[in-house]
């Protein structure tokens, strides 16, 4: 009895560990040569079922079904999460203060001071410009820093590597992966082809680029008087640069706006921003009299630091957005 039990246990143990006798009819294929790409490797893993331990069998099962099961589970869970979040938020929205109502909590003494005394305290006719560049200027400084961080990171990821490629051939990984998996079409970086004979585009660009540039400058310079400011004006300026690059080729833009210009202009503009705002924060916090005049509301030279700050921000934004475009389409500025 005991012996039998032990035999059964032994065979079970062998089955679990995968060291049982091999059946007569099992075929063991020869090992594939190791340098075949994985897509062409013969699928030999699952023929030697009896030799596999329970753990290996589990991993095999997981390899076949796991990804499928996991994606189904993941999809179900994420839909569920989203439905729950939307339902919760809808219930929340229903309880929020009513839309457009005067007595809402947000219309409090904070707003009252911004509107009633904002003109005199910041010198800006545009209350929003006064708010973001004077009252809550630290947020806006952080926001410019976000743009700077992103510009630097994108330059790092897309810029340096591709230039490296032209210097010393392809990097080893792109050789193996890029070639194997990506055999149709040209590589992603040369999607942009410049055509010399596009007369319509060039004509339109010649006519409209000065107008766009002027529009951008007006929006930047009038930021404290009318809707607009550094960010929107800078975006308009960058479209002029992008249009020029498309009409006349990146080389022509590169003559006056290279990577070095981009870095120097962004860093310098942000530096001026940081220095002037730092001065303003320092004087404000220590109750020192600030030497910056506010000017009269409605004049072009008014609003204290708002005008120079808008110009700095405009430069940063114009350069960065054009830089993004050039890096994405050409891999270089």
């Amino acid at each position: 009895m005991n012996e039998e039990l032990r035999a059964i246990w032994q065979s079970f143990f062998n089955w679990v560990m995968g060291i049982g006798p091999r059946p007569e009819n099992e075929v063991i294929p020869p090992e594939p040569p190791p340098d075949l790409p994985f897509t062409q490797r013969p699928n030999d893993k699952y023929t030697r079922f009896h030799e596999a331990t329970l753990k290996e069998r589990y991993t095999q099962w997981l390899e076949i079904h796991g990804l499928h099961l996991f994606s189904a589970l993941y999809a179900g869970l994420s839909v569920l999460t989203c439905v729950v979040i939307v339902a919760l938020l809808l219930a929340t929205v229903a309880e929020l203060p009513p839309f457009g109502h005067e007595g809402n909590p947000a219309n409090n003494e904070v707003i009252r001071r911004y509107v009633e005394r904002g003109g005199n305290e910041t010198g800006a006719q545009n209350i929003v410009a006064g708010l973001i560049l004077d009252y809550r200027a630290f947020d806006t400084f952080g926001e410019s820093a976000v743009l700077f961080t992103a510009a630097v990171s994108v330059l790092m990821i897309l810029g340096a590597s591709r230039r490296g490629k032209t210097d010393d051939g392809e990097s080893p990984h792109t050789e193996s992966a890029g070639r194997n998996f990506l055999q149709r079409g040209p590589p992603a970086m040369s999607l942009h082809t410049f055509r010399r004979d596009d007369a319509i585009l060039r004509g339109v660009a010649t006519l409209s680029i000065p107008a766009i540039l002027m529009m951008g400058c007006v929006v930047v310079i009038n930021g404290h008087l009318s809707p607009g400011g550094g960010f929107s004006g800078g975006a308009i300026l960058s479209t002029a640069l992008i249009l020029a690059a498309n009409a006349y080729g990146f080389g022509r833009v590169h003559d006056f706006f290279s990577e070095r210009t981009f870095i120097v202009s962004s860093s310098t503009a942000l530096m001026i921003y940081a220095m002037s705002k730092g001065y303003s924060f320092f004087t404000g916090a220590n109750h020192i009299h600030s030497i910056i005049p506010k000017g009269t509301i409605g004049d072009i030279l008014s609003g204290g630091l708002i005008l120079p700050l808008n110009i700095c921000v405009g430069l940063i934004v114009a350069g960065t957005l054009y830089g993004f475009y050039a890096l994405f389409s050409e891999g270089d500025i």
Partner: protein, 504 residues
Amino acid sequence: MNESIGMFAYNIPFASIFLMMISAIITPLLPDKNRIPEKLSCVMIGIVGVLSAYLLYALTAGGQSLSFNFMMGHFPAPWGNELRAGPLEAVLSLVFCAAMLLSLTGNLSSTAEDIAPKRRNIFCVLVNLLTASLLALTYTNDLFTAYVFIEINTIAACAIVAVKESPETVRAALRYLIMSLVGSGLVMIAICLLYDLTGHLLMQDMSRAIHGLVASKSYIMPLTVSLALITAGLAIKSALYPFASWLPDAHGSSTNASSAILSGLVLKGHIFTIIKIFHRVYGLDVIHLLRMDTVIFILGLVAMIMGSVHALRQTNVKRMIAWSSVAQVGYIFLGVGLNTTAGIAAACLHIIVHACVKPMLFTAAGGLSNAAGHKKGLHALMGTFYVNIWAGLGLIAGAFSMMGIPGFAGFASKLSLTLASFGHSTVVWALSALAASSVLNALYYVPAVIVVLTHNKDAQKNFTAHAPTMSYKVSMCIFLALNFYLGLFCMPLLRLITRGVSVL
């Protein structure tokens, strides 16, 4: 308040954020010869660290615990931005600067190997921005400023993962970025909801408005939802367990300096933001009323166990350490979930301990795998202790610390967590989870230590026998000293933190 601490100390929070920002902005303009950018970053971080130490001294000299608000600009609290500094903020910024500096100097050689020369300049920019954003998150008293700096932190953190050029890091960085962006989206929605309910963005004004709402029992549901969203968003960013799937990829594949910075500091910045929001925006009583403390407590318990269970299954030493970070984040959230001053103080102590120990572990693991010819598998490290003794000592001290052996840093924080959980209704759960997690920690750290200490004649022939550099040895020495200091003399620090929490 301005007079009692002196004008110099009063300006330190502002000056340290701006110094780091200016150093980040100026770095792209510098020539990238002679490692000038790296030297500049290290010097700047060092200066900010010294300034923070002075601020700490000024705030706590003579047994007092002062705190002050710093007006950013010409307009007072509900209208302008504000910074706020107290003993806790000063201690944390000191620790952040010290850990950042040591992570950089300790890994100088592996950074030089992993990062192309053209990218090293930008790496320094990103490190500076990361430090600036961590300092801003520590000091800010304005929820929207916190959001903006969280975004800087996110981009810079993902970029220092991708700075090492390999397909693996790009994938890890993308995964990290997408998870982080879900998190910041949730935080943004929550801030909008809170602004709509209170009409303020500064923390103490928000807090006053929220207490008014709770007292009049109005808008309880939107308040709960906003709290849940902001906690979930920041929990994703600080890798609380169910949301931690991105962490091992990002921390395991990046260069050693990045892993050390991400594990030791970036997670901590977000956790401290949660603590600040709980403490200063909602208030502990409201958190308890809305039951968020229980949720955090349970998630912390789960993270403590599951992080270690995942770490047990790793064969790559850096991924093992990364999963151990998930478990350690669980400890911190356990302390936060206790929702008492003692619990939060213990959580802050664990933030400090982990910010000192985890960079040491990553630096040590980097040194060991470098000695083993850049292999990261645990079995490949056999006998590497005898090649790079400093790295070996660092790994052993770090492992003992994570297990909670008395005399090492981790013991201090585990002890204070244990003490904090006494008298709390959940004491049994907390204690059993602490015990179980310590045992699990030992289960994967002890084998690692044994492997490293085992003599292996065959493999040692293949080892690249270049000795650790001077900067590596010095940084490791300071790491070890910090570890023992925290393990043996933590009580004054804990008292300091408790005072800091009480005026938070």
